[in-house]
């Protein structure tokens, strides 16, 4: 290796981010070249200086405030089943309770099929956009007068999920807002409509016909995200989509 190569790699070398072969090459050069040796020494010294700066630990006031935040219950199918079991144990004639839980699970499954169908329809029919914009301040007002509610719209370009457009779609026979996000060549459709209940939690994750589906409710809105993206990245997207 010669100096320009080493100079280009010097930060990654100092950060221990080179593969073994490159690291060995840089190390050998640094051992014989005073200039590059100095560069490595400067970075080590700078790191010591920076680490000498006081750390901003969370003040106890913040700590207390965060502890006081009520963690919303996570509604998983297992919890629903558990709740049903408990109710079964403490009440008499609880067939109705179990039926209610099962009916809700069935309704959720039907909605999952509906949102996937809308997702596929939009992609195949090439009617993905009524409005094509990455600007949340263009997209949100666009829904005015087209829906009887105002869906939350947030561009997530900064997190690697740019908003690319929106349309009015239909799910289960009712008009819904559909936001379209992009991740590489993958499209994510987010369907939004007013929720029946207001559980602010991720309630449902499943795959259907090869698509990943996520469902949660927030601020009295039901949200469904559908994509052919892998489940880890779709979870990342769902977490990013916070108010």
């Amino acid at each position: 290796m010669i100096c320009p190569d080493v100079e280009r790699l010097i930060d990654a070398y100092s950060d221990d981010e080179l593969d073994a072969a490159q690291a060995t090459g840089v190390k050998a050069h640094v051992a014989t070249c005073p200039t590059c040796h100095q560069r490595v020494a400067e970075r080590a010294a700078l790191r010591r200086l920076i680490r000498g700066v006081p750390y901003y630990a969370a003040p106890s006031r913040v700590r207390r405030a965060v502890v006081a935040i009520r963690r919303p219950a996570r509604v998983t199918p297992r919890r629903l089943a558990l709740a049903a079991t408990v109710l079964l144990a403490v009440s008499v004639g609880t067939g109705a309770v179990v039926r209610t839980v099962r009916a809700r699970q069935a309704a959720t499954a039907t909605l999952a099929q509906d949102v996937v169908a809308s997702h596929v329809r939009a992609l195949m029919g090439a009617h993905l956009f009524d409005v094509r914009s990455s600007d949340q301040h263009t997209v949100k007002p666009w829904f005015q007068g087209k829906l009887d509610f105002s869906p939350p719209v947030e561009d997530l370009a900064g997190l690697g999920f740019p908003l690319v457009g929106a349309r009015v779609d239909a799910v289960g026979g009712r008009p819904v807002a559909a936001l379209v996000y992009q991740r590489r060549q993958h499209t994510i459709n987010v369907f939004i409509w007013p929720a029946a209940d207001t559980v602010g939690a991720l309630a449902d994750a499943r795959s259907f016909r090869g698509f990943q589906v996520r469902h949660w409710t927030r601020n009295a809105m039901a949200l469904w995200a559908v994509s052919d993206l892998n489940d880890l990245e779709l979870d990342q997207f769902v977490r990013a989509l916070q108010p």
């Binding site: 010097i10 930060d11 990654a12 950060d15 981010e17 100095q38 020494a41 400067e42 970075r43 010294a45 700078l46 790191r47 010591r48 200086l49 920076i50 680490r51 000498g52 700066v53 006081p54 750390y55 901003y56 630990a57 969370a58 003040p59 006031r61 913040v62 700590r63 405030a65 965060v66 502890v67 935040i69 963690r71 919303p72 996570r74 900064g158 997190l159 690697g160 602010g200 939690a201 991720l202 979870d235 769902v238 977490r239 990013a240 916070q242 108010p243």
Partner: protein, 166 residues
């Protein structure tokens, strides 16, 4: 809540204000707790920091931060001659202050990669995820940020016991 210190430290460096950092961290915590139970442990810190950054970004406009381009004249070593061998403790305290101010005067894009790498010890991959930039950009920003800091802090580096850097 795990990683709360990391969240506050990052927010404090982003906002350069205790009060703003408190607001950002509390907002971020509300968001994070909603999904925290689904986070794998090794990802949790990077995820929380991502949420902190997202919250800060939504709250504070990044334009018009003129302070980031301020002239650095006042950072020069203005101690009069003859005082150079003053008490080591004083020198050390002044060095820490200068380092702190040098980091604060970096543009936000540079400041955050320095804080995430040098103070929080995140990997390039984690920094890329938190800042929403490619790994190549992490590397080039770190390199440029360090060049700036080295230019600003050269004398402190030499005094910091690096004999061959006079």
């Amino acid at each position: 809540m795990p990683h709360l210190d990391a969240a506050f430290n990052y927010a404090r460096w982003l906002t350069k204000s205790d009060a703003d950092a408190e607001d950002v961290v509390q907002d971020a915590a509300v968001r994070a707790l909603r999904f925290f139970s689904s986070l794998r442990n090794d990802d949790a810190r990077a995820w929380l920091l991502t949420i902190v950054r997202n919250t800060w970004n939504a709250r504070f406009s990044r334009v018009g931060s003129a302070d980031e381009h301020m002239v650095l004249d006042d950072m020069k070593d203005d101690r009069p001659d003859g005082q150079l061998d003053a008490e080591a403790l004083v020198i050390q305290r002044q060095t820490v202050e200068r380092v702190q101010r040098a980091i604060e005067t970096l543009p936000t894009d540079f400041r955050e990669v320095i804080v995430l790498r040098e103070i929080e010890g995140l990997s390039y991959k984690e920094i890329a995820a938190v800042a929403g930039i490619p790994i190549g950009t992490v590397m080039s920003r770190l390199a440029r940020a360090r060049e700036r800091l080295l230019a600003l802090l050269g004398p402190d580096l030499a005094r910091g016991g690096i004999g061959d850097l006079s």
